[in-house]
């Protein structure tokens, strides 16, 4: 299977103990479930990366002098910052699909 060589984390979800111990090739259902698991894993990873990015950016913008706790205004700023960042992502996605997106992606 070609995709087994690409992504180590994907492989771990595909080569579960079931496959490792059996001598017969995986059934259709097993492959389907593995693909499904892979997709879920990718989505979870993507989400985590995005949230980390947002936290970094918005911490920089909103928490200039860290105090003993997050003030209300800092929290409000974080909320706005998060929304604006996600909006930025949407604008970038839109600009790409219209303009230079085709070949670069």
């Amino acid at each position: 299977l070609k995709f087994a060589y690409c992504c180590p984390r994907a492989v771990s979800s595909l080569t579960s103990a079931k496959f490792a111990m059996s001598s017969t090739p995986p059934s259709e259902n097993e492959v389907r479930e593995a693909v499904h698991g892979f997709k879920k894993q990718m989505a979870a990873q993507q989400l985590q990366v995005t949230l980390t990015k947002i936290t970094e950016k918005c911490f920089d913008k909103c928490v200039s002098k860290p105090g003993a706790s997050l003030s209300n205004s800092e929290q409000a700023c974080l909320a706005k910052c998060m929304d604006r960042f996600l909006e930025t992502t949407a604008v970038v996605t839109g600009a790409l699909s219209r303009g230079a997106g085709g070949d670069e992606l």
């Binding site: 299977l1 690409c6 700023c77 670069e104």
Partner: protein
């Protein structure tokens, strides 16, 4: 199993269908083989392409956010939004420019070596 079991554009994460009869890979050698494994392969590759595209979008959003948005407001002003649009397009133009110029540099280097 219909070939459309793994449509390329389908990115939903719905659960696999339990209704179809379980077959082993030995069955796929027949001429009427459904291309099931090829379909699974394509789906995985599609996911990877999408992940790469999303990574690019995220990185670009980061850069343009830094460049275009100062203090986050209640919504993106039209100035901020057009700044972000320009930012994305100028980035790809920069990428093309750098690549093109680099090729020229390589060619100049090669003709010097001759």
């Amino acid at each position: 199993l219909p070939v459309g079991a793994f449509p390329r554009s389908d990115t939903s994460t719905r659960a696999p269908r339990p209704d179809s009869p379980v077959r082993t890979m030995a069955d796929f050698d027949t001429p009427t083989g459904s291309g099931f494994m090829e379909g699974a392969q394509r789906e995985i590759e599609n996911e990877q392409r999408q992940a790469q595209a999303k990574a690019i979008i995220l990185a670009l959003s980061e850069k343009c956010f830094d460049k275009c948005i100062g203090t986050p407001g209640a919504k993106l002003s039209s100035g901020e939004a057009s700044c972000v649009r320009n930012c994305a397009q100028r980035y790809f133009e920069s990428q093309a420019y750098v690549a093109k110029r680099f090729m020229k540099m390589l060619q100049a280097q090669r003709s010097e070596d001759l």
